[in-house]
Amino acid sequence: MIHRALMLALLALPALAQERRSGFEDMAPQTQAMQRDDTSNPGMLWALEGEDLFRQPAGPAGQSCASCHAEGSMQGVAARYPAWDTARQAPIDLAGRIAQCRTDRQGAPPLARESQGLLALSAHVGQQSRGLPIAPPADPRLDAARVQGAALYAERRGQLDLSCAQCHDDHPGRRLAGSIIPQAHPTGYPLYRLEWQALGSLQRRLRGCMTGVRAEPFAYGAPEYIAIELFLMSRAAGLAVETPAVRP
């Protein structure tokens, strides 16, 4: 356990050596203004849809999310995910938990990863943590996955033979073609990317980077993605949640 904690600390060292900043800071003032104002932030369209879905009954028992979770009770929840799922004995991310709640508790048809409904619900839940510091749980059962995530982050992959760390730890703030390389803190997911012209999850973003280095991406919902998310969230601990954020 001590060995693991030490390894984590060492892996996170390059990122901590410099001042941590959200990708928000590197955006053009226009894009920042777009995120700040809820009436011009397109991510709010999904968050509002999620608010409706939250109250909408689903499944044979006619239960909605709001039947169990009071309105506004999800404050701070997105800041502590991924968490440990006792039922599956594995870490689970927020979207996974929402989908699990829907199938196991409501008995409703499953929501696919990156489906409009799951993104909308994740945005609605995430929005309630906006402004709160990212607070990864100290659960020791998550450590193994965190270490795996750190290893995946540092592992070279794809035909370009690049690791996440080679850009996001070694060269943040510099440019890759026309874009500024951010420090890769997942503060605002699910977020509206202007490139996507839609809301998308962190897994979609990771997939984009992986195909970018000509690596085969993992399948949506793969434990590897959740491990990377665990590591990234512990690396971003303390930064404010921005969901739904806007990125170029």
Binding site: T39, S40, P42, L45, Q197
Partner: protein
């Protein structure tokens, strides 16, 4: 019904220049994009936006396939009298949506 975000001030002073901002959820499919099987998706865009203030057209826009999804429009008008601000979007496949907001001029 597409989801919309509209920012119209509730009240304004007579003669004041007010800013109206609208954002509507729409795919704005260009009609030029082939999918994974090489089949080009048919065009599906919003073609026209009209804003009427107290029955009078104060702003109109023609949208083209080059405009991004979820189009955001921001424009100004002068608050003259209390009335209804009516915004309507029309597009392909019979897309039509109208939203109204009340504006009180003091």
């Amino acid at each position: 019904m597409a989801r919309v975000l509209i920012n119209v001030p509730r009240t304004a002073a007579r003669g004041e220049v007010i800013t109206i901002r609208t954002l509507i959820q729409h795919l704005m499919e260009t009609g030029y994009r082939p999918d994974a099987n090489g089949v080009v998706a048919p065009r599906d865009i919003i073609r026209r936006f009209t804003c009427r203030y107290d029955g009078e057209v104060v702003f109109q826009a023609e949208l083209s396939p080059a405009i991004a999804a979820n189009p955001f429009l921001s424009f100004t008008t002068v608050a003259t009298r209390s009335g209804v601000v009516e915004m309507s979007w029309e597009g392909d496949n019979g897309f039509a949506q109208t939203e109204t907001r009340d504006l009180t001029v003091t």
